[in-house]
Amino acid sequence: MSVLVYTENWDGKFKKLSFELVSYAKQIAAQSGTTVTALSIGNVDEAELKKLGNYGADKVLSASDERLNVLINKAYASVIAEAAEKENAQLIIFANNFTGKALAPRVSVKLKAGIASGVNAVPSSFDPFTVSKKVFTGKAFASVVIKTDKKILTLFQNSVDIMETGSEAAVEAFSPALNDADFATKVLDVNKVTGKVLLTDAEVVVSGGRGMKAGDNWAPLEELAGELGAALACSRPVSDEGWRPHSEHVGQTGKIIAPNLYFAFGISGAIQHLGGVSSSKCIVAVNTDKDAPIFEAADYGIVGDASKVLPELISGIKEMKNS
C-alpha cells in the first residue's frame, strides 16, 4: 500500500511543481498511514533525486533507460503502471499539466483506476474517496467520488503549499520492461525559448489586453515583469491581432494559469478570459472603465489609464525593493 507520485523533470531538474506534488502525496499518505514513493523517468542525478525526500518521499524510483529520455506517452504509461504495481500503490498522483494530461488517462485505463483530474485539495473524505475539482471552466466546483480500489489524481498547480520534512529519501534504480512497439512515436525536433520566465512556472504574471491600444505599447509591461521576475501574458484579442505571441494567451481557449499575483492591464474581463485566470491567488486590474467586469473578479483595482499607472507602479516597486 503506498502513494506513487510521478515527478517530472525538466532537463534533469525538478521544479516547485514537483515538490508540491510530493507534499500533497505526503499529506494524503500521512492521513492513511502509508508511504510515498516518487517515480522519476529520465536522466536525473542522485543529488537531485534525493531532494524529493525533503518534501515527503520515502523512496525514489529512477527509471533512466536512455530510450526514456523523451516523453513517449505509450512507453511512459507502461513504466508508470509497472512502478505502481511494484509498489502496490493504491493512489497515483500526477500534475495537471501537459505531461499529466498525456499520461494519467492512459495509466487509468491500464490499471482500471478511477481518476479525478484537475483537483485542487486533498480528499475531503477517504470513505467514500471524495475530492473537489473545478468544472465548467472554473465556474463551479464538483465533488467527485472515485469508486475503484486504485485511484489517480491530477493536481492543479499552486493548490497546495510545499512542506519540508528535512528527511532523506532512499533512491533506487528502476528497470521496467520496455517494449519496442511502444516507441513508434519519435521526437524529431525541439524548439524551446530560453531566458524567459515561463508562464506555467511564474508566481507573478503581467498581462495586457486590448486596452493597451497597440503592440508597440508593451515596453512598460515588459519592464514591470522584469522588476518582478514575472512572466508576460495577454488576452485573446491581443494574440489574435498578432500584438503578442499565442503562447502568451491566457483564457478558456489559451492557457489556464494559477499564479500568486496576476496583473490585468486594459483587460475588460470577459468570461472566457476569467476562466483562465480565476485560480490566481491575487488579481490586480487596471482599466479606464469602472464598470469593466474584471473589477468583479479582481482583489485590487485602479480605474485609470494603464499608460499612466504603469510608470508609477514600476517606480513604486523599485522604491519598495530598495527600502
Partner: protein
C-alpha cells in the same frame, strides 16, 4: 485513410451555470448546446487535411456518446462538413465510460487517425483521448497544436513548457489536440446545413463499461470579497497593499 473526430455536446460558454436536485445535477433547462470548441477545431483540421489530400483521405466521421438530445449538435458537425456520424446511445457518465464506449465501437470499425479535443468545457476532464488510445493499444500524442501529413508521414507539434516539439508517429494513432490545431472553427454553409440532413447519422447501442467515478454534488464558488479600489493618483498605495497586505510582492 479515414479520420474520426470525437465530439462532445457541451453548454455554450455564456450559459449561466446552475444545479438542481439539491445541487447533485447540472440544470439543463434553457441551455444552448454546442460542439465542444476544441472538437470543432479538430473537425476543422480534419476537413483541411482531407481537402489537401488529393483523395488519399476519403472519410471524416464524427462520433459522440450521448442520448438522443445530442443529435442537433451532431448534425451541426455534419453541416460543417463531416461525411457521416455515429451516436453511441449511452449517457456520458465519466471519461472512462465514454472512452470505453468509443473503444468498443472502434474495435469493429477502424480509423487511421483519431482526433480528440484536449478537454471539454463542461467537466474539464482531459481524459477521453488518452484513455481511448490506451483501450485500443495505440500511440497517443497530447497537447497537439499542429498536425500535418507530409508524403504519407504523420507530423505533429506538441506544446511543452516554453516551446514545442515536432514528432512523427504511425497510424493508427490518437492525437489529443488544443489551441493552434486550426486557426478558426469552420462555419457551416447554407449548402452544408441542407446536406447535413441527408448524411448518415448511425445510432448504435453502447457496448462499453460502467463509470469508475461519480460526480456526487456541486457548489458555486464562494462570493468574492469586493475589489479594493485604489486611486489612480495614488499608485504607491497599491504597491503598499500588495507588499504588506496581500504579501504577493
Amino acid at each position: 485513410m479515414n479520420i474520426l473526430v470525437c465530439i462532445s455536446n457541451v453548454p455554450d460558454t455564456t450559459t449561466k451555470i446552475r444545479f438542481t436536485d439539491n445541487d447533485t445535477a447540472f440544470d439543463t433547462s434553457g441551455v444552448q448546446w454546442i460542439i465542444n470548441p476544441w472538437d470543432e477545431l479538430a473537425l476543422t483540421r480534419a476537413l483541411e487535411l482531407k481537402e489537401a489530400s488529393g483523395g488519399s483521405i476519403d472519410k471524416i466521421t464524427v462520433i459522440n456518446v450521448g442520448p438522443q438530445s445530442t443529435e442537433p449538435t451532431i448534425r451541426k458537425a455534419l453541416a460543417i462538413g463531416a461525411d457521416d456520424a455515429v451516436r453511441i446511445d449511452a449517457e456520458a457518465t465519466d471519461g472512462y465510460s465514454v472512452a470505453s464506449h468509443l473503444a468498443a465501437y472502434l474495435r469493429d470499425n477502424a480509423y487511421d487517425i483519431i482526433l480528440c479535443g484536449i478537454d471539454s468545457s463542461d467537466y474539464n476532464g482531459s481524459l477521453v483521448g488518452g484513455m481511448l488510445a490506451e483501450f485500443l493499444d495505440m500511440p497517443s500524442v497530447s497537447s497537439v497544436s499542429k498536425l500535418d501529413i507530409e508524403g504519407g508521414e504523420i507530423k505533429l507539434n506538441r506544446e511543452i513548457d516554453g516551446g514545442s516539439e515536432v514528432l512523427a508517429t504511425t497510424t493508427p494513432f490518437v492525437a489529443v489536440v488544443q489551441k493552434g490545431i486550426a486557426l478558426e472553427p469552420r462555419i457551416p454553409s447554407m449548402r452544408g446545413i441542407m446536406m447535413a440532413r441527408k448524411k448518415p447519422l448511425n445510432v448504435v447501442p453502447g457496448a462499453g463499461e460502467e463509470a469508475l467515478t461519480d460526480f456526487v454534488s456541486y457548489e458555486m464558488p464562494p462570493a468574492k470579497a469586493a475589489c479594493k479600489m485604489v486611486d489612480a493618483e495614488n499608485v504607491k498605495e497599491l504597491v503598499d497593499l500588495l507588499h504588506n497586505e496581500a504579501k504577493v510582492i
